[in-house]
Symmetry: C2
């Protein structure tokens, strides 16, 4: 960006959708990011912040003072504001709260009272409700008189009782294609199940995906309508879940900024390397128990990574399948036994097959049939142990409130290293010396 063309670049930038501006910011290294952020229209700042991932947003918020943040927050929807406010320092949050009119403050406080990963945390309180006894014609006239149109992503109006209890939804498409003299009650759809405010975000996402929903009403325990969830926020949940699974196996967090400052990245990664180092040293300690054996039969040192690696691969496959099964709600304590027995059968077949292959190669290489027999046994044992661990770990960790996407891989590696080295070197010590 040469200085002469700054004005042109600014104009181009601000012609973009806030989401696209956010995308540009996320694709830039920190220094350029700061320059480009300065070029963003003040009126668009709030929207752009919403589309940034957590790390980048935090970085930018840290560079803004309270007045700037207040200005950016102005004009945002309450549910978006709730997302933003959760990342702000407490002092700024209370300033934002006191800058709002009473209705918006109340709504924001309601939104903040639910955890971010619940239906209540996802919902938007801006709903348009209608009563069942009025005619469609009345609804049509009412809509035409609304000054500010309908909220974004409105595909239906929520039908409520006099007490504000959920009754059903009136799809705009049905409103448009039915006889205006019909009543709302005659045309409304009854089979859209409202979502309780305390439902988990993951379950909400699965329901949206299964039923192809655009929006869904959220209710309190008394059946009163609190707001609605829209598909754009659900897509974010799906993306975050997926990122969490994929990045989690490498010990990265889902808000990870690809262009985070070096020191921040280094500090975060260091933790993961340290945890894995403990695993590696545990494996080294196991090998150390058999120093005398290795000294006599060096071939063991050559072949031992093969034993650990085969277990690791087989176990990772089962672990990955189980983690995904739980996330999609397809795997639970009810059918885990079936998965375990199926995976163990697969492991037995593949363990034996590859044990034979490895044994043959080892025999050809070192001309020692005992080593061949020992490595075959060790691989079979390790593949079986790894598979059992891979299948059971996710459910067990989940039960104890530990995140399998994060911890599963490390624990599995520990199992496959320890069982692999222990069985291979242990058997060798027993039968070779």
């Amino acid at each position: 960006l040469e200085s002469g063309s700054v004005r042109k670049a600014t104009r181009m930038l601000n012609a973009l959708h806030p989401a696209e501006i956010a995308h540009v910011l996320q694709s830039l290294p920190p220094r350029q990011r700061k320059i480009v952020w300065q070029m963003v229209d003040h009126a668009a700042e709030g929207e752009v912040l919403l589309y940034l991932n957590d790390d980048v947003r935090d970085e930018i918020l840290r560079g803004m003072d309270a007045t700037e943040i207040l200005a950016a927050a102005e004009g945002l929807d309450v549910d978006d504001l709730a997302d933003l406010v959760q990342d702000l320092p407490a002092k700024v949050t209370s300033e934002v709260l006191s800058s709002l009119d009473e209705q918006r403050r109340e709504r924001l406080e309601t939104a903040l009272s639910y955890p971010e990963d619940s239906a209540g945390g996802l919902m938007n309180p801006d709903v348009v409700t209608v009563r069942p006894e009025v005619t469609l014609d009345v609804v049509l006239r009412y809509l035409r008189r609304r000054k500010d149109g309908l909220p974004e992503l409105t595909d239906n109006l929520i039908v409520v009782s006099r007490q504000g209890r959920y009754l059903g939804v009136l799809y705009l498409t049905d409103l448009l294609t039915s006889d205006p003299d019909d009543s709302v009650a005659e045309v409304m759809t009854l089979d859209v199940q409202p979502i309780p405010a305390d439902a988990k975000a993951r379950d909400v996402a699965n329901r949206f995906e299964q039923l192809d929903l655009i929006t869904a009403p959220v209710i309190d325990p008394d059946g009163r309508v609190l707001g609605r969830i829209t598909v754009d926020d659900v897509m974010d949940v799906i993306r975050e879940e997926a990122d969490h699974q994929f990045l989690g196996h490498a010990g990265l967090s889902e808000g990870e900024d690809m262009f985070a400052p070096v020191l921040l990245s280094a500090r975060r990664r260091a933790v993961w390397l340290g945890i894995n180092l403990m695993t590696a040293f545990l494996a080294a300690w196991v090998i150390g128990l058999f120093e005398a054996t290795i000294e006599k039969v060096v071939a063991l040192a050559v072949l031992m990574p093969v034993v650990a690696s085969m277990g690791g691969i087989a176990g990772t496959q089962t672990l990955t399948l189980a983690i995904r099964g739980i996330a999609l709600g397809q795997l639970s304590a009810k059918n885990i036994r079936w998965l375990v027995s199926k995976e163990m059968a697969v492991a037995a077949l593949n363990g034996l097959l590859w044990a034979l292959v490895v044994a043959s190669i080892a025999w050809l290489w070192f001309g020692n049939s005992s080593i061949a027999l020992i490595i075959a046994t060790a691989i079979t044992l390790n593949v079986l142990a790894a598979t059992l661990a891979g299948a059971l770990l996710p459910l067990v960790l989940d039960r104890f409130g530990i995140d399998p996407a994060l911890a599963g891989g490390v624990i599995l590696t520990t199992v496959t290293d320890v069982v692999g080295f222990l069985s291979f070197l242990g058997l060798a010590t027993l039968f070779l010396l």
Copy 2:
């Protein structure tokens, strides 16, 4: 399921949404799955098939004859039919085609002419179009006269010229809240960019996510409207992409059935184990080069997995970040240099830090300062090499048309094993003997 309650179970099952029935089927082992499938209403079979993942769907289709498949396919939307037909044997496909009326056959053939992972493959030809010069009142009356309502997930009508060229969209919400005497041209939205039919599914998904779209029009190179893409199909793309990334690192395919038959699973997994075995044997071969060294200093055999493991972890973190960056369109040849230098800086810091830690432990353990120095050097080198490979591999593989989510991990492991063992044992041979 006791035999007495079969009728009750059947009733309960068929009260569910087809997507929920599919979910039940996917959570069941093969034998029970077959029984439950028999209980599904014939009229719902087509819909249920659509919601199943590839493996389970194939399994069930294999159990059906052509007449049954034809019956199930009846009444499906053309775009759904296109998804289904792609999994059928050619003979059944042509039977399905000839069973359709001319209009549907033509539409199906159009849909099949685009690759499954393009905008054309995702689109649904069922669009409602309006002309810009008519008034909203005319549109409202036209809609009310439509016998079969509007297609599912309709949030706008597409405004086209006399030649069928895309002009803009008329949101139903605007139609409902504007003056009926206004013309479509006055009320329509111009800033929804139509999607070319040959756009990649991944790019379509990113656009839907960024712009919070519900539907988007698809056009041919002349700007003529071919159909529209709906958010439910986009969510499937996002889910499949995510599954592909997450399952790919374990060598599993995204359509993987958790409860696939043992022999099928075993055969598929065997391939992945075999590929990884080659990597493991390459590592063993490298170690084998230094048998004489290990025989003299057994501590090397004890410590060598630590060197390989630290490289593996550091490299996997960078690889994971780069794969995700490419998928989200945030990483390209343009900014890869920045990522590489940032990741190398992180690697240098963490490599040195943990090299020091490992060296200290090795020194305390074996009381040999040369080994400590050698392992520190080897770890630093391996972490740097692994990081470089992790950052560059995804773009390079992508360039050659190889899938980084699948091949990246295997190649990275090869690099970290070879560099790790070679540097550690090589340095030891040079300086210890």
